[in-house]
């Protein structure tokens, strides 16, 4: 299976290890992975600020880069959500439609397309899962505690396949971390407060590592953790799933 891997701009620049882990993991699971040399950004930062009209060229560019792949995979719930939901403002030709339908967050790709049942990974640490909002309520990677439906979570399912990983239960299982893209700069006080509150919950559960499907949430939490000089570290879901040596 050939997969077009998309690495979000901030992961490309600041967290290359997440991109590398995504690549390695998919290859381990039998995929041929290609990263187009010209790929840049899905356009979400502009659109979230209200400038989706300006981002149109980024949308068509994305489609251009990825139109020849059967599956487009990215280690980001929010970018996936953006392509699937918000690329409706550009002309819906065949390429656009196909790209939108076949863009996956890596967690749903692993479970729903590759249909993996196990992983050859281990991560002997106490882990707290942060349910990134766009992935959770946007892509329905999990049920969400608001809804009266059986509580499921693709991310939890995947973490359950990792040997020796201890996953804690949080009281506010899916409250937002406060990043919100432009929000983190527009409303810094609330953004910081929300992040600190999340961290406090993980601390109370003696979490060593906070993980999530979106590096943006983790970047925000990590920024707070480092400033506060706390020992908790952050790791993207794929880094944990790809972790083999103890």
């Amino acid at each position: 299976m050939t997969v077009g891997l998309f690495i979000p701009c901030y992961i490309d620049q600041f967290y290359p290890q997440v991109g590398i882990a995504s690549l390695e993991l998919l290859e381990k699971l039998g995929c041929e992975v290609v990263v187009p040399a010209g790929q840049t950004c899905c356009g979400q930062p502009m659109a979230n600020t209200g400038c989706e009209q300006d981002a149109r060229k980024n949308y068509t560019y994305f489609v251009e880069q990825y139109k020849d792949f059967d599956h487009i995979v990215m280690p980001s719930g929010s970018c996936t959500y953006h392509v699937r939901k918000h690329y409706d403002i550009i002309e819906q030709n065949e390429d656009v439609r196909r790209v939108r339908q076949n863009t996956y967050d890596i967690s749903e790709f692993l479970l729903d397309v590759l249909k993996i049942k196990s992983l050859d990974s281990q991560f002997p640490h106490t882990v707290g899962l942060h349910q990134s909002c766009h992935g959770l309520r946007g892509l329905r990677l999990g049920t969400g505690t608001e809804r009266v439906l059986p509580q499921e979570s693709k991310l939890k399912q995947l973490l359950g396949m990792v040997k020796d990983l201890q996953l804690v239960a949080l009281e506010r299982a899916d409250e937002c971390c406060g990043f919100g893209g432009t929000f983190a700069i527009n409303e810094p006080d609330i953004s910081v407060r929300m992040g600190l509150d999340r961290i406090a919950e993980h601390e109370a559960q003696k979490v060593e590592v906070i993980t999530a499907g979106d590096m943006s949430c983790l970047m925000h939490l990590e920024g707070l953790l480092k400033r506060q000089k706390k020992p908790i570290v952050v790791k993207h879901l794929v880094e944990i799933l790809n972790h083999t040596e103890p």
Binding site: Q13, G50, E146
Partner: protein, 455 residues
């Protein structure tokens, strides 16, 4: 100038109080969760509520016609108010005709929106808000901070001090039981002396011409049944087609609002009492404008439960007053830009678009999607803060040029690694005030990929 951000910053400066406020509202959200989980068919019920409200909006004029005809058959006087000014005038005229000087009022966000109290008081009429939370803020001369729990932002000691001053309760007393009892006695006097009662309307039934008013305190009924004149003020969107639809909405409302299976009193008013008058004032005040906005008309499905506020992590940490409008929180942020785009341009940005509000909304309003869409309108109309649009245009331009983007990334990271911390964490670096920037790696992913995988 971001009003919400400034007010929120002020609110949050009191960390202890913010935690208290956040915990209090989260508890209401938790109660909502418990109550909704009691009904296995809850999600189905939400869908039903949503579909009925969709139908209502699509036939609004017909239902309103039907409603008026049936109400009139029942001996009810129906009035139409195009805007707040007309609404206030109509209510005043009804009172003036009978030379009424004292009225009691139960909770109505519509009358808040129209600033009815100020209008009537200015004309020399005593207006007493009888919902306990509303009475508290009336005495305090503040606006409500939540549409269901107007005084949620006040601590009992503050209310105790207020009552001591205004109602002559014991100094330093803050026991809610004692304070409520004092308010009971005080308001009872007012009910008995009132000459007219004004209420809001939770649901107007087109099929029967009646109005439904839901309370826990019974204050609306105490007012209405003791006064010869009763006036019910209703936004046009409160109509529902038939009485049987109340089965859906009465099951949705209480659970969503406070976690109760139903409000204590669900009163159905159809005809005036013997010897009395019953009036219904139907109000537009911008609602038809919103109805005409394809992307935002669903906000009119709102049944004013407040669940979106209770779940919103931003509302809980900034308080209702930071939104600057009668109806705050997520629903307020999609209703208000339609009223004054420039003035309320900061509200759709007072959100991380987490989507929790949409998932608790009993009538499935796509709140977070509408927040996103309002952002586009605000940007298009030029109401983004200075420089924001320009910087976004530049970013978009940069991202369309991969070589330039990669070079900018490489040099940006190099700067971050080389420049002294004092220079990076300057006062323009909003992120850097309370957070460290991420480490800037020597190699970006693309650089690694080109070096290690593409040969």
């Amino acid at each position: 100038m971001n009003q919400h951000a400034q007010k929120a910053a002020a609110f949050i400066r009191n960390a202890e109080r913010t935690r208290w406020h956040d915990d209090a509202l989260w508890m209401v959200r938790s109660k909502r969760d418990t109550a909704t989980h009691d009904i296995p068919e809850w999600e189905q019920l939400r869908e039903l509520g949503s579909l009925v409200k969709n139908n209502v909006l699509s036939k609004l004029d017909e239902y309103l016609d039907e409603f008026e005809a049936n109400a009139q058959k029942n001996g009810v006087q129906v009035h139409w108010a195009a805007d707040a000014e007309e609404h206030n005038r109509i209510v005043h005229d009804i009172l003036a005709k009978k030379k009424i000087a004292r009225i009691v009022k139960s909770k109505s966000m519509l009358t808040e929106e129209c600033h009815l109290n100020e209008y009537l008081i200015e004309k020399g009429i005593e207006v007493i808000d009888t919902d306990l939370g509303e009475r508290i803020i009336q005495l305090k001369e503040e606006a409500p901070s939540h549409i269901v729990m107007p005084a949620i932002h006040l601590k009992k000691e503050e209310i105790g001090a207020l009552f001591h001053e205004k109602l002559h309760t014991e100094k330093g007393a803050s026991d809610p039981q004692y304070l409520t009892e004092s308010a009971r006695q005080h308001l009872r006097e007012k009910f008995l002396q009132a000459q007219a009662a004004v209420t809001g309307v939770n649901f107007g039934i087109a099929e029967t011409g009646g109005v439904v008013v839901c309370t826990n305190e019974g204050n609306a009924d105490m007012g209405v049944h003791l006064s010869p004149v009763q006036i019910h003020c209703m936004g046009i969107e409160k109509i529902i087609p038939k009485a049987e639809h109340l089965g859906i909405f009465t099951r949705l409302l209480g659970r969503s609002a406070t976690g109760q299976p139903i409000t204590i009193y669900t009163s159905h008013h159809h005809r005036p009492k013997p010897g009395g008058e019953m009036h219904i004032v139907i109000v537009d005040n911008g609602r038809t404008d919103q109805l005409g906005r394809k992307d935002f008309r669903n906000s009119l499905k709102c049944i004013r439960c407040g669940a979106c506020m209770n779940t919103c992590p931003i509302y809980r940490r900034s308080g209702g007053h930071s939104y600057g409008y009668t109806v705050p929180g997520p629903i307020g942020s999609i209703l208000t830009p339609g009223k004054d785009l420039k003035k309320y341009s900061d509200l759709p940005f007072a959100s991380t678009l987490c989507g929790s509000c949409s998932d608790v909304c009993p009538v499935k309003i796509d709140i977070h999607a509408q927040l996103y869409k309002w952002r586009q309108v605000i940007a298009e109309e030029g109401h983004l803060p200075a420089g924001k649009k320009k910087s976004m245009q530049m970013t978009s331009w940069l991202f369309a040029r991969p070589k330039l983007y990669r070079m900018a990334g490489k040099w940006g990271r190099r700067m971050l690694r080389l420049l002294p911390k004092g220079l990076i964490y300057n006062r323009f670096n909003t992120w850097g005030r309370d957070r460290d920037l991420p480490e800037a790696p020597k190699e970006s992913f693309q650089e690694w990929y080109q070096k290690n995988r593409r040969s």
